[in-house]
């Protein structure tokens, strides 16, 4: 049943899907406070579909699998999160064409971040998923390229960085996404999209550790 790499992608997807199901209400509660109370439902619907699709793809190489993750998110999630996560998985998947290595995973992460920023036009500090993705990607890249850490170790650092990004969203004012409509009232609330990013990064790390 496929290579270790294929298995790893499938395992990560399953883990993310489980996590989104578990955290559905939590994410929706965060989105209630400063958005429209659907981020949990959106992510759960999206990754349930991704999990189904990916389970059926027996022989696809990892880049195909990840591309499917993206396409499925685009066509199942809707909202802001759909094109942001979906489009980024789709585009970045091309970096995994020669397999998942330390280098290719760094390239993947960089393109992913770039694509999110492109689509959403959100700078760091706008209180969006960009605030969680940016530190995670920067830290991962530096850990691999400068500190010569192994991917699993780098992922552990990335989780930690991502978490700080999530925490950073709480005390700042939103200037992008629905929360921006609230103006100063958005201060004091954690961003739901940043939080779902953390769940994804955590799940990938857990899969890598196994």
């Amino acid at each position: 049943m496929g290579t270790t790499e294929q298995e790893a992608v499938r395992a990560a997807v399953e883990r993310v899907a489980d996590r989104m199901a578990d955290e559905k209400e939590y994410l929706t509660d965060l989105d209630s406070a400063i958005g429209d109370a659907d981020h949990g439902a959106n992510m759960n619907r999206g990754f349930r579909a991704v999990h189904e699709k990916v389970s059926e793809m027996d022989d696809a190489p990892p880049d195909e699998l990840v591309k499917t993750v993206g396409i499925t998110l685009v066509s199942e999630v809707g909202g802001a999160a759909g094109p942001l996560y979906g489009g980024s998985f789709m585009t970045a998947s091309a970096e995994l064409g020669d397999g998942i290595t330390a280098e290719s995973s760094v390239a993947f992460a960089e393109v992913f971040l770039e694509k999110v920023k492109d689509r959403g036009d959100a700078p760091v500090g706008a209180k969006t998923m960009v605030d969680a993705i940016t530190p995670a990607v920067h830290t991962y890249k530096k850990s691999i390229e400068e500190d010569d850490l192994k991917p699993v170790e780098a992922l552990t650092k990335a989780v930690d960085a991502c978490e700080r990004g999530v925490n950073f969203t709480t005390p700042i004012r939103a200037t992008k996404g629905r929360a921006s409509y609230l103006g100063w009232r958005s201060v004091g609330h954690q961003d739901p999209g940043a939080t779902s990013t953390l769940f994804i990064v955590k799940s990938i790390r857990e899969t890598a550790v196994e």
């Binding site: 802001a80 409509y181 009232r185």
Partner: protein, 333 residues
């Protein structure tokens, strides 16, 4: 939460079926999508006007499908914009060769999905796609520090005017031009007396005390820009309308169309009480109400509250607003 629904996750699907079975001659559903189109789409030799967005705003969007208004309406999950692939299918199903105008409400999810959809559609066929983004909500400052004003109830007027222009057989750029004219001249501000309850969450999106209301709400159950003490209908109407006037600053004697729009859970009687005050404000300021609409046009599920919309008119807009339309939610004869 008690709702007339079956599974929360099936609401959109079942609502769309129920809508088609109420209007079987007028509407149809594109197979395996949440897209409804005019039964006779694509209408030959006519620019198609399409729209879409999250569900929960009924009769928006599919209620405005029909001669003189929309050709296609893509429904997302409740308060979630539709996905790009379905929007793209809609665009292709409605195009008669004369091009398609996407009417998008300004909010990043819709904008991103419609953009992606336009690209997909143009990749897959040679349809010409144009887009306008409605941003009539004056509650939100339009500045570098926000993602811009939201598109709310004024969108209906864009559908009406662009739909009429298309119905007359005009070209895509002309249809787009009048849509933009509406966008430039329309402003809306809304209030919530209660939060709405989404089928999925099953609880109010935000909590409001018995003596509090939210001013400057959007249409997705987001809290507004300000929480204030409960006021009388006349005071609320003043707060909303002043803000709308400030934005448009119509000149004395200007002709306007007004909408008092219910958010879904407010009785029509209350909307008329608001309209009474609104029209007396129009008189005081020497604006001429050319037409006054009162009803549920752009809702937030069961939310109680209303919004006030004003569109400043010229002769062209009046003609297009008076052009016949025959849709489930709006008829002009």
């Amino acid at each position: 939460m008690k709702k007339l629904i079956n599974e929360p996750s099936a609401v959109v699907d079942e609502m769309l079926d129920g809508m088609v079975s109420a209007h079987p001659d007028e509407l149809r559903r594109l197979a395996d999508t949440n897209v409804l189109v005019r039964n006779d789409a694509p209408v030959s030799d006519k620019v198609a006007v399409v729209s879409g967005g999250g569900s929960g705003h009924e009769p928006t969007h599919a209620g405005y499908l029909g001669p003189g208004m929309l050709d296609g309406a893509a429904a997302g999950e409740v308060f979630t914009s539709p996905t790009a692939d379905e929007i793209s299918e809609m665009i292709q199903a409605c195009d008669s060769g004369k091009g398609v105008l996407n009417v998008v409400k300004n909010y990043e999810g819709d904008v991103m999905n419609f953009e992606t959809a336009g690209e997909l559609a143009e990749m897959e066929s040679d349809v010409e796609v144009a887009e306008v983004v409605v941003n009539d909500d004056v509650a939100v400052e339009d500045s570098l520090y926000t993602s811009g004003r939201r598109g709310v109830c004024g969108t209906i007027l864009v559908h009406k005017v662009a739909g009429a222009m298309a119905d007359r057989g005009e070209e895509l750029d002309e249809v787009k031009r009048v849509a933009e004219k509406v966008i430039d001249n329309v402003a809306t501000m809304g209030t919530a007396l209660t939060s709405c309850v989404t089928p999925e969450k099953g609880e109010p999106t935000f909590d409001l005390a018995e003596d509090e209301i939210e001013l400057g709400i959007g249409i997705h159950g987001e809290p507004g820009v300000e929480r204030v003490e409960m006021m009388s209908a006349d005071e609320i109407t003043e707060r909303l309308t002043e803000k709308v006037f400030d934005d448009l600053s119509p000149s004395s004697g200007a002709e306007v169309l007004t909408i008092v729009n219910g958010m879904g859970g407010t009785p029509l009687s209350e909307l008329y009480v608001v309209n009474r005050k609104l029209q007396s404000m129009m008189e005081e300021r020497d604006f001429m109400t050319w037409d006054a609409w009162v009803g549920d046009y752009m809702t937030s599920l069961d939310m109680q509250g209303c919004s006030v919309t004003v569109l400043v008119l010229d002769d062209e807009l009046k003609e297009l607003l008076a052009h016949p339309a025959a849709t489930p939610a709006l008829t002009v004869q």
